[in-house]
């Protein structure tokens, strides 16, 4: 029971991180119908910015955790947003009317570029940082096994939930959200009624990038190590989460992330750690076969 509970906690935490990345996928997919292949790298850059940020702050002597955390979070979001914007500008906008495969290739190219850029700029070694937030609550003890809920996990949960609420409000209540939903439905029509489509798409990438940056910072806090290769797998899994929840659906992305995180945690705990990625892909395949529109997605009707 204790073991199970611990895995539940770990899985939920992992799921929240996947969910944050998945939101970026699902938004971009919703608005331009493309898989943003380089989104995982954006998340990786966010994680690196967190490592650099915490190290610089540590050297400057700012060690009061809430202040350091806020500074790192904001700088990471800001700079990652620029990366997201640039990605859209360079790899997607010139290809908006091109055949479907072209943006995918350019996104894969951008992904390779970012990976190697970070590797060259920061070195290929794994970057460890000293734990910024340590300690946690003991939920309960049972026969020598303690179930821990660490402060970092609580932070991840609270932050993710807060971002979800803010995000839902943004989509539903603001003019940007309305513009986004309009572009999702019909880009040509939206531009006819005066919506700046380019700006809306750019902002979508920017928002997706900031969410990925938060996920990157959280992952740095949670695991304490970062390397230039983490973006690839995280990217695929977050996409899996987005598809699982129904691509284009925002609550779906979160739900998909949580399910994926739980499956991974339980699979590693009860079956084998080596094959946890295989488990994630198996789920993806099963979902696509039996419910291609995802758990919360609308079925797509193809019209002639």
């Amino acid at each position: 029971m204790g073991y199970f509970l611990q895995q539940l906690i770990n899985g939920l935490t992992l799921g929240m991180i996947y969910g944050l990345i998945a939101l970026g996928y699902t938004m971009v997919y919703g608005i331009i119908g493309m898989i943003n292949f380089a989104h995982g790298e954006i998340y990786m850059i966010g994680a690196f910015l967190a490592v650099i940020g915490f190290t610089v702050l540590g050297l400057l002597g700012i060690s009061y955790v809430p202040v350091a955390l806020l500074i790192v979070l904001f700088t990471a979001m800001l700079f990652t947003a620029v990366y997201g914007w640039t990605l859209e500008r360079v790899a997607y906008r010139p290809l908006r009317s091109a055949p479907r495969l072209a943006p995918l290739i350019s996104a894969i190219g951008a992904s390779i570029f970012f990976q190697n850029y970070v590797q060259l700029a920061q070195g290929a070694r794994v970057k460890p940082i000293a734990p910024v937030i340590s300690g946690g609550y003991t939920v309960f003890e049972e026969g020598g096994f303690t179930v821990q809920l660490s402060y970092v996990q609580i932070l991840i949960w609270l932050l993710t939930l807060a971002l979800m609420v803010a995000f839902a409000l943004l989509i539903q209540r603001t003019s940007l959200g309305r513009a986004q939903r309009a572009c999702e439905q019909d880009r040509a029509m939206a531009s006819l009624v005066g919506i700046d489509v380019n700006r809306t798409i750019s902002l979508t990438f920017v928002i997706g990038a900031t969410l990925a940056a938060v996920a990157g910072v959280m992952v740095t806090l949670y695991y304490g190590v970062v390397d230039f290769y983490i973006g690839f797998l995280a990217g695929i899994k977050a996409f899996t989460a987005a598809v699982l929840g129904g691509i284009g659906s925002l609550p779906g992305a979160m739900l998909g992330g949580l399910i994926l995180g739980l499956v991974e945690a339980f699979w590693s705990a009860y079956f084998s750690v080596e094959y946890k990625d295989v488990a994630a892909f198996t789920i993806l395949v099963l979902v696509l076969i039996f419910k291609p529109s995802g758990l919360l997605g609308r079925p797509e009707v193809e019209k002639v």
Binding site: T55, Y83, T86, L101, S106, I112, Q122, F281
Partner: protein
């Protein structure tokens, strides 16, 4: 469209400067955190090293570069329209002679080992290029003809390589016995994967195939009793020339290649033989593709690529049709994999990462989907150039990624786009109108 040369375009210097400054500002924001600060390993955790001079140099270069570029564009009157220009023009000129160009290329490929400048090194590189040409042609069946986006093609390559390696090492089967088996296994995996997922739309298919590619790699890494895990399979036997091995001192009772032909032993014999082997395999792939395009199934692939709903209405079973494309593409991947294994003599899961799939797909898409010659050109570009740029070693992949983005922005349909259907109801009296 060509700008009228009589009216010199007015250049708004202020706007250009503003544009360049904005670009430089973005470059600054991009470079500052990741290049300006470098984390270094420190006994006490991580240290930081600042490199603001690099950032300044980079931002300055971006500013000047952007200014120069937009000034040039302004001089030309307008930005060149995507897809037009000298390349399209050159292509229109060359198009009627494509057959001869292809023949000349083939002749060159056949003569390459005997040309005066070719060394063991050139033949080695040419062999590598040909492996990618073959993989590109194989994937072209799936992506170019049937229009199915496969991001996990390397899985079939891996299946082919491992089936040859394991069969040869475990059961002492020869290369020639294993080659068809490797192709069969790969095709079988293609069907196995294809069966559940081919009902999916393009993008989903891409991700599932990507996941499949990773799954195969993870299984190869972790199923140690069979695949020997991360250590890989070594001591894979080399192919023989109709039973004549390429060894200096053959075992008792076996005639070696050089003894049979009465020539002195040279290590280059095997290299040359491998080169011709892959050339032959690649040409078979090409011939097969060109012929199957004319068969009903090939025409169904192309029709499916253009409009799936119309195909269904006409009674083509999309799943079966896609499945054949998938299986045939996978089979060629398997052949190429078997060749790769015999050439290297050693394989490990390291050789079958996603980056390989991405490279092969990039070759197909950059070459222009469906174009066989485009695949050759793109393979030469993408494999030969990084090979020649070995001095740039660490920047190789960085430039590779950048090149993929830039070439796509420059020619979204690939270098030689080929979407002409192989068959027409009423053949046009003259080409080049579409």
């Amino acid at each position: 469209m060509v700008a009228n040369p009589n009216t010199a375009p007015r250049i708004d210097i202020a706007a250009l400067l503003k544009d360049a400054a904005l670009t430089a500002a973005v470059a600054f924001a991009l470079a500052l955190p990741l290049i300006g600060f470098r984390t270094v390993d420190d006994p006490a955790g991580l240290g930081i090293e600042t490199r603001f001079d690099w950032v300044a140099t980079g931002v300055g270069a971006v500013f000047l570069g952007r200014l120069l570029l937009s000034w040039l564009f302004a001089l030309r009157g307008q930005r060149p329209a995507v897809g037009s220009g000298w390349l399209a023009h050159a292509r229109a000129q060359l198009d009627p002679h494509m057959k001869w160009i292809a023949l000349a290329g083939m002749l060159f490929a056949f003569l390459l080992p005997f040309l005066p400048f070719s060394s063991r090194y050139t033949i080695d590189i040419a062999t590598t290029v040909l492996i990618y040409v073959m993989l590109g042609w194989g994937l072209n069946v799936v992506v170019g003809l049937a229009g199915l986006l496969d991001l996990g093609y390397v899985a079939f390559y891996a299946v082919g390589a491992y089936s040859y390696a394991l069969l040869a090492v475990t059961f002492n089967l020869s290369f020639w016995e294993c080659l068809p088996l490797a192709g069969l296994f790969a095709a079988f995996f293609g069907i196995l994967l294809g069966f559940p997922v081919l009902r999916l739309r393009g993008d989903y298919l891409a991700i599932v195939t990507l996941g499949f590619g990773e799954m195969i790699r993870i299984i190869l890494l972790n199923w140690v009793p069979v695949t020997r895990g991360p250590d890989g399979v070594s001591g894979i036997p080399r192919p023989s020339f109709f039973g004549l091995p390429f060894t200096a001192n053959p075992p008792e009772g076996v005639t070696a290649f050089h003894e049979f032909f009465g020539i002195a032993y040279a290590g280059s014999h095997r290299v040359t033989f491998l080169y011709f082997l892959i050339l032959l395999l690649a040409l078979i792939t090409n011939l097969f593709t060109l012929r199957i395009r004319r068969l009903p199934v090939g025409r169904a692939w192309e029709a499916l690529r253009e409009d799936e709903i119309a195909c269904r209405a006409l009674g083509i079973n999309p799943t079966n049709t896609k499945l054949t494309a998938f299986a045939i593409g996978a089979m060629f991947g398997g052949f190429a994999g078997a060749f790769f294994a015999t050439r290297q003599g050693f394989i490990s899961p390291e050789s079958f990462t996603f980056i390989e799939s991405a490279t092969i797909l990039a070759i197909v898409v950059l070459g222009g989907m469906g174009s066989q010659i485009g695949v050759v050109i793109a393979a030469v570009l993408l494999i030969l150039l990084p090979e020649l740029g070995r001095e740039l070693a660490e920047f190789r992949m960085l430039l590779f990624g950048a090149a993929m983005v830039l070439i796509m922005a420059w020619r979204p349909r690939g270098l030689l786009a080929h979407r002409e259907p192989s068959m027409r109801l009423h053949s046009r009296n003259h080409r080049g109108e579409s």
